[in-house]
């Protein structure tokens, strides 16, 4: 083969590689366009707005970093942030505490498994808005379900107004959230459990590992990636909680169940300060990114391979 032939061949190979790259790019182009239009552009606009005094009505005025400076003194926002983080920790533990046993229960195929899987997953398809309205009614002290049922069963003599105390609101909403979202985490964890190769489990079995050891030392480490996904989705979802608190408690009693997103909504659309709301959103975004990175790092593979 002459030198020239080799050069042509190499060129051809490079050409086909470039074509393949181009084809790949074309395939992801629609998705990239969507990300650009629905994520990147709004994100840039939010950043832009956060540097303005941007009223809901009227002309915006450039104020530089004023919104971010004001935030430092916004006790309500940091209080809401603290509550949101506390809520996220409790919700995530509660969701995993319910979803993991459920996932173990429905993992193995059986005649009734499909029914259980469906039953546990069903609440996920109910919208948060509808579920919250349902709960708001359940929690009504006079005409609801919880308090009248407790009185009827003789558990308490006096009606219990769950909406009147922070604990009442917090734990009632927690039950709603677990009921509503545990099914989703269950499906994720179930696929994780099923993805663990059977021969490894079998080998462990032969080596004398008991059921707990097989779960703790084999399955759990091998489903690290699924765990990370389920955890990040759960934490991010909890950090952005809004609907249930807006509909059920209005952030009450006495602003004690005010979440970060609720405060952003309130500043933007009740106080008409869109610029300040945008600045708060940016800070929440940064906090959320940091938390997510921290979770990925914690659940990284010990061998250092990609997740």
């Amino acid at each position: 083969m002459s030198q020239a032939d080799l050069a042509v061949k190499t060129r051809r190979r490079m050409g086909s590689q470039r074509r393949r790259e181009m084809a790949g790019l074309l395939f992801v182009l629609p998705a990239m366009a969507l990300v650009l239009v629905f994520f990147l552009i709004p994100l840039c606009m939010t950043v832009w707005m956060s540097f303005h005094n941007w009223p809901l009505m009227g002309a915006p005025k450039w104020t530089g970093l004023d919104n971010y400076a004001a935030m430092l003194k916004d006790r309500r926002f940091w209080g809401a942030m603290e509550f949101t983080i506390w809520y996220s920790i409790v919700a995530t533990i509660a969701i995993f505490g319910v979803a993991f046993p459920l996932a173990l229960f429905v993992e193995r195929p059986g005649r009734t498994t499909a029914i259980y899987r469906t039953a546990f997953f069903l609440p996920v398809v109910v919208g948060f808005g509808s579920a919250s309205l349902l709960w708001a009614w359940f929690m009504n002290v006079d005409s609801g379900l919880f308090s009248p049922a407790a009185v009827a069963m003789g558990l308490t003599d006096e009606p219990v107004n769950l909406m009147a105390t922070t604990d009442g609101v917090f734990w009632s909403i927690m039950v709603l959230v677990v009921w509503k979202t545990a099914g989703f985490s269950m499906i994720l964890l179930m696929t994780g459990l099923q993805s663990v190769p059977h021969d490894i489990i079998e080998a462990a079995h032969i080596d004398g590992a008991n059921r707990f050891q097989r779960f703790w030392r084999i399955k759990l480490p091998l489903m690290r990636r699924t765990l990370a996904l389920a955890l990040i989705l759960s934490v991010a979802g909890s950090m952005l909680a809004f609907d249930q608190f807006y509909i059920i408690s209005n952030g009450g009693p006495r602003n004690s169940t005010l979440t970060a997103v609720y405060w952003i909504f309130s500043q933007s659309f009740v106080s008409f300060k869109l610029g300040y709301g945008a600045a708060l959103s940016m800070v929440l975004l940064v906090i959320l990114v940091i938390i997510s990175i921290a979770q990925l790092w914690l659940l990284r593979s010990p061998t250092g391979d990609a997740k």
């Binding site: 009223p55 809901l56 009505m57 009227g58 002309a59 309500r76 009504n140 002290v141 006079d142 009606p159 107004n161 909406m163 009147a164 209005n250 952030g251 009450g252 009693p253 006495r254 602003n255 005010l258 609720y262 405060w263 309130s266 659309f269 009740v270 106080s271 008409f272």
Partner: protein
Amino acid sequence: MLRTLTRVSALALAVGMGTAAAAQDTLTMWARTDVQNFLPQVVEAFNASHTTQVEVQFIPPGELVQKFATAAAGGSAPDMLSLDLIYTPAFAAAGQLADLTDIAKALPYFDQLSPAHIQAGTYDGRIYGVPFSADSSVLLWNKDLYAKAGLDPEVGPGNWAQIEEQAKAVRALGGDVYGYYFSGACAGCNAFTFLPYIWSQGADIVSADGTTATLDTPEVRGAVDLYRRLIAADAVPPSAETDTGSSFFSAFAGGNIGIATSGAFAIGILNTQYADMNYGVTYIPGPDGQPSSFGGGDNFVVTAGMEDMTAVGEFIDFIYSPEMQKLMAEFGSLPVRGDVAAQALEGLDTRYGVATDAMAKGRTPSTVVYNDIYNSATGPWLQFLQESFYGDDVDGSIMIAQETMQSILDGVQ
């Protein structure tokens, strides 16, 4: 833009129909659903007698401000609005409203128009909103329960001591029957019904010039203590504490409440939908009987940028005609023009008289930060009410609310 379009389409329609009539001008109007009871009748009457036609669209009250702001930014705002009067200063300050000063002052009966509306509609010395519908806060009492409790059913509470005494007497009937009701977790409801208890003593929670929060006064503390005594005496049902406003009307209509804070709107609904209810209407009194009320309702406003105001002037004059004032009164809105009020109310339920008089005595907070201070579910007003009515540290909660309100007021300057 929208106006031009509708004009063009009206013109096309007129030409298409081959009539010799001049092009009809169409004015678009948005209103919150609260005025759906009577606005369609008013518009229908106006359209029947005028070349200019008004088209109305109703918007849920919670969405009106956002929807208008979006439409205004996109150039598709309606020509006119029936706007909750408390929003008039904020809209005017944002440059969204047309100056109606000349039209308003040219009306021969201008000085007879509801002062609360005009005050809320005035911004920087110019009038941007004129009265449209009116609703004043009052107390309702259940005459049947009063009779059962051995009270005179024809005499409602006239001062604080009587409120307490009568509420306790009704509560003594026991069971599900309670003496007094207010929506404890509803910021707007309590601005409407609790502020008058403070005003009746000559005090307010914001200074007259709108720059200083004045919550830390004996008058505010006095009104708070009235509610605390009612709650401590078990005269208020436990569900009141967490009512976000959904039972503001229905709690009294259920027939188990002796005295309830409410508004003139309730008279219309009670008379039409709860015909069996035997009730009385009285003023919200001060400690010694000095009456006070929140003058609520809607202002009529015009979107900035309208050039020819002739048709708007015609519409304004039309709504103040004795016939329309009567029509609106029949459907539950109090007259907003003093000199024809008696005529408008003639033949109607006499209980409207109390509410109309309350309206005349009524006050309306006028501030561009009304939402932040009073209306917001996360604002200082509601937090103050909940903590001071039900909490243990009244002075502490007053101090915190005072600080928060002051920082909001400082933000305006």
